[in-house]
């Protein structure tokens, strides 16, 4: 029984690693083919850059920044007129 338990463990290890590698190898191949086919035959109009989505927090900051810019511009414009 103990013998057999170790045998079972070895079986799982060998076949398991084998299948994990084989499966991921097949996945690498299929993914590569898929990418090439899409890039060559179904390209998108404009290439999309994997940009990080702008979080709302950043957007809030942007709002502040825009606000400051508007005020700055208003004051600048005003000064220019005064000159």
């Amino acid at each position: 029984m103990q013998e057999s338990l170790i045998q079972q463990g070895l079986d799982i290890t060998l076949f398991g690693m084998g299948i994990v590698f084989t499966f991921l190898l097949v996945l690498v191949i299929c993914t590569t083919i898929m990418s090439r086919v899409i890039t060559r035959f179904f390209p998108e109009a404009e290439p999309i850059i994997a940009a990080a989505p702008v979080s709302s927090a950043t957007a809030g900051g942007a709002g502040d920044a825009r606000l400051k810019k508007i005020i700055k511009a208003a004051i600048e414009q005003h000064r220019n007129k005064r000159r």
Binding site: G9, F23, L25
Partner: protein, 437 residues
Amino acid sequence: MENITNLWLSSGANQMAFGQFAMMLVCLGLLFLAIRKNFEPLLLVPIGFGGILANIPGANLAVPAVEAAIYAGDAGVLSQLAQALGLGAFESVDGLKAALENAPAAAHERAAQVAADAGYNNGMLYNFYSVAIASGVAPLVIFMGVGAMTDFGPLLANPRTLFLGAAAQFGIFATVLGAVGMSAMGIMDFSIADAAAIGIIGGADGPTAIYVSSLLAPDLLGAIAVAAYSYMALVPLIQPPIMRALTTEQERRIEMVQLRPVSKREKIVFPLVLLILVALFLPDAAPLLGMFCFGNLMRECGVVSRLSDTAQNALINITTIFLGLSVGSKLAADKFLDPKTLGILALGIVAFAIGTAAGVLMAKLLNALSKNKINPLIGSAGVSAVPMAARVSNKLGLEANPHNFLLMHAMGPNVAGVIGSAVAAGVMITMVRAMTG
């Protein structure tokens, strides 16, 4: 007077066994690690709290109505239960519990009807466990949410990194060998199903570990989940020494070329390709990887963003709360305080270490075979533990070379590791069932 006696008899202080007290301390320790040390708090806060609830003496929150009836110890009910379970007469509580564990489904139901007629209910946490974990749904829904949060871009830009994710799964299988070895040496008493469930800790992926152990070794689920999440939190401590030991300063300095942009279409088609390969070759991995791919397709396809948002937020949060409490229900003293738990904790850390090493070594092997060099530090990210392991790779890379930003490169093997351990899970479920079935 009798009433006061009743209340005192039913009160926790009277019934608190040493084991339950010890488990409460363990759970408070888990909460401390989660809250103060930021150890995977999203899971360990509910698990730790659920563990305290499960160990409240006399509350029977983690047991079914039948066990509550057994603990209550009414002579009439006990003898009815013994009959329902096919015993001639009631002899001992332990005998009854053993009979319950081995009873066929029909006897189980008769016993449940006896308990219901006597006015006992299932414990709250037992109900949560039945609905969330025993049915398999909670880990799968969380996996769907994880899929909806995963960006396969870095992996698609450099598919070779899938091999790193494959290699790191060696931690899983080495641990299986370790567990059966311990059993063979007579140190522990793990069955092959136990060994497989323990091995999956090496996958460094919480939902996968919970899913596999709920199928193969439900009694060990508590210890396995705690080990998996704790070691995931410890990745920044466990991995660096191994990574430094296996790489030269030179290797750690390797800068990698910037990843190519990946088109939206590739990202949409990838989960379908993965799904179809699973359908063809690994049907037993279909629930896990199917839900993962479904989440990812919802994310990338761009036309169901309201479903994708819900899968990433309300749904995964609700599921996490109940999954955590349910896992906590398996921290009841009589299950957790077992020498096996120590074995699981010891094997789990070995699994992480071996997985890390295997990933790094595979990266070096790939470098030996190809001109297009990769920094071996990203190999360790193949254990998954997303995104912690990738951050560790990045940190060590920056130490060796301040211009070396490995984060995006390490995300490839990192998500590959998720796929890899789901594949390993499928293989092990199939093989263990064939062996024990």
